[in-house]
């Protein structure tokens, strides 16, 4: 039984954490203010690396926001009880991360003040314009989904709305992949593999985030998760991590098979300095193989190992996105195949990029927005998973 003083301490700790989150979000907004005032000159981005660290954070949050709903879908669509109990928390995390990711994406614009222009001028051939619809639709749909789950009179609608969310998030992550897949001229992108790759990555990243948040909530409420449930969910994470590795390997192997892509692959996998290092050490070793070891080694069934594996998957995802987004732009565009080229505009040269503090402040600001939405919501509404005695289904 918790004592009065321990409850008081916890209450204080809650507000301290919330205030810390608020400060990080404010620091992000301050960075935006400076970027607005001075222009993007204060970031590390330039005319060669046009999307930088903010996009790494934003795309992580958006992709994970879609993937975390997998937990809800397995419950609502496939009828698994332990996932159904977790659907409200998964939906909340989805909304929170989507809000954080979109804030970063929007505030990094050269003219964030013109967001109304983006809402009123719609180009049907633009994947970005489609994504604006997909993101706002996802927000509304997940809100309705949460409502059908949390309001008892609406419960009978949970299944159909769950189906709609299930379909929508597939289309949404396809859309995120297509942003890159439609860039035909860039060696790193322009591949039809990207949308399915992003979907599989989203499963792993979303579930990793879910594990982290669930572990913290259980610890905070001094409850223990049924080991059988933990076992099932960590195995699922393992399967998703293997699936991600498979998709990433296929993407690189198809590139390696095309002679004209050999230079790019040599750069990104071997000779590109920070990019191969982040890929092999960050994504493959620490972001995938080590988590797999923690998940599947016998005798490591404790919560802390699952937590460590999940955190490593999240760190690996940032490494992979950095390599994919920034490394992909750093390799020079092949405008004149068969020629060696040089110019004052970086033609034929590997582009340099040194991310500035402001970019990281903006990125962490997005994480902080997701954190604040989550912490406030779990306090005012009941998102704690309510498990019946575990029966394997």
């Amino acid at each position: 039984m918790p004592t009065l003083s321990s409850l008081r301490f916890k209450n204080r700790l809650y507000y301290v954490l919330l205030a810390a989150g608020g400060l990080v979000a404010l620091a992000g907004l301050y960075a935006v203010h400076l970027m607005e005032h001075h222009g993007h000159i204060i970031t590390g981005m330039n005319n060669q690396i046009v999307w930088g660290v903010p996009h790494v954070f934003a795309i992580f949050l958006i992709v994970a926001a879609s993937g975390v709903l997998n937990v809800a879908s397995i419950g609502s669509v496939f009828g698994k009880a332990i996932y159904k109990a977790r659907a409200p928390l998964a939906s909340l995390l989805s909304i929170a991360m989507l809000a954080g990711g979109l804030s970063v994406l929007m505030l990094d614009l050269g003219r964030p003040d013109r967001i109304i222009v983006a809402a009123t001028n719609y180009n049907p051939t633009s994947m970005f314009a489609w994504n604006i619809v997909l993101y706002s639709g996802m927000f509304s749909l997940v809100f309705v989904y949460l409502w059908t789950m949390m309001e008892q009179r609406m419960n009978r609608w949970t299944k159909p709305v769950g189906f709609a969310v299930f379909a929508w998030r597939f289309i949404l992550t396809t859309g995120t992949g297509l942003i890159f897949a439609f860039l035909t001229a860039r060696q790193a992108y322009g591949s039809a593999l990207l949308p399915p790759m992003f979907i599989v990555l989203s499963f792993a990243w979303g579930l990793a985030v879910f594990h982290v948040v669930q572990t913290v909530i259980y610890a905070w409420n001094e409850k223990t998760l049924d080991p059988a449930i933990l076992q099932r969910k960590k195995n699922l994470l393992g399967v998703f991590v293997i699936g991600s590795l498979y998709m990433v390997a296929t993407y690189h192997l198809t590139n390696l098979y095309f002679a004209h892509q050999a230079g790019f692959e040599r750069f990104i996998l071997l000779e590109g300095g920070v990019y191969p290092r982040l890929f092999w050490w960050g994504y493959v070793l620490f972001g995938s193989l080590l988590p797999l070891l923690l998940i599947f080694s016998p005798g490591l069934e404790k919560t802390k190992y699952v937590m460590a594996a999940s955190l490593l998957v999240i760190l690996g995802s940032f490494a992979l996105l950095y390599v994919f987004i920034i490394g992909g732009q750093a390799y020079p565009l092949n405008i004149f195949p068969g020629y060696q080229v040089s110019s004052s505009f970086g033609d034929g040269q590997i582009a340099t990029y040194h991310p500035s503090l402001y970019e990281f402040l903006l990125g962490f600001g997005g994480l902080a927005i997701a954190f604040i939405i989550t912490t406030v919501s779990v306090r005012v509404l009941n998102f704690m998973p309510q498990d019946k005695p575990y029966i394997s289904d």
């Binding site: 005319n47 046009v50 050269g110 013109r114």
Partner: protein
């Protein structure tokens, strides 16, 4: 009819009158903003019968010569600096053929594609193609997302990273928006050639109407071999290169 109804009517009448007075000057201003009617000697609006383009003769283009770049910077009010964050609407590229070792030099700028990827990907339709084939950015509509820069196969576009000063009245630019070669649209509309074409002492940049079979550029394209850069992408650029 009771008092309240009458009061309500007079209130509605007054409101309508006030609204009309408030809106009317705005409507008049919209008419003014839509611009001058066309005159015989004034600038004509873009016409789809015309397709502006260029033929660049790389055999006449001298390595190390930067006259076209300097003229572009002067005409459009660019700083001429070449840091990675500075705008470069046109640049000189030095090429060496991998297999033969042949050296080449040529200017590279927006290729004014018939099917421009930048226009396809722009979420707000700020990137657009005029009826006469010139690809432009509406600086009032660009939100600075830089998706067009990711999509352009020629790396022709720049993002304005810093506040601007002393802009040219004919060449609107803006911090936080994307920009590129306009084919000197303000000069073309006055019947002049783009600044780079005029500045090239070697006459390596021939400007003209690709749709007019009798224009100098059309006759030249019929008689000499010329190629479009990255023709495999099937974007049908309006800029062609001879000797590449």
């Amino acid at each position: 009819m009771n008092d309240i109804d009458i009061q309500r009517r007079s209130f509605l009448k007054t409101s309508l009158g006030a609204a009309a007075v408030a809106i009317a000057p705005g409507m008049l201003l919209i008419d003014v903003a839509h611009g001058k009617p066309q005159t015989v000697n004034g600038p004509k609006s873009a016409n789809s019968k015309v397709r502006w383009g260029m033929l660049i003769n790389t055999t006449q283009c001298k390595s190390g010569c930067n006259d076209c770049v300097t003229a572009c910077n002067r005409e459009n009010g660019l700083s001429g600096d070449t840091k990675p964050t500075d705008s470069q609407w046109i640049r000189k590229i030095e090429l060496k053929d991998d297999s033969s070792g042949r050296d080449l030099s040529l200017p590279m700028m927006c290729q004014h594609c018939e099917y421009p990827p930048c226009v396809d990907v722009c979420p707000t339709t700020a990137s657009f193609k005029r009826a006469d084939g010139i690809v432009l950015v509406d600086k009032h509509r660009c939100i600075g997302c830089r998706y067009c820069m990711m999509a352009c196969p020629y790396k022709a576009r720049s993002f304005v990273h810093e506040p601007l000063h002393d802009q040219k009245p004919d060449v609107p630019r803006g911090k936080g928006t994307v920009e590129a070669c306009t084919l000197c649209v303000h000069r073309v509309d006055q019947g002049l050639k783009p600044a780079c074409s005029e500045a090239c002492l070697n006459k390596a940049i021939l400007f003209g109407d690709l749709n007019d079979p009798e224009s100098e550029i059309s006759r030249k394209i019929r008689s000499v071999a010329s190629v479009q850069v990255r023709a495999d992408l099937r974007l049908n650029p309006g800029i062609r290169y001879q000797g590449l």
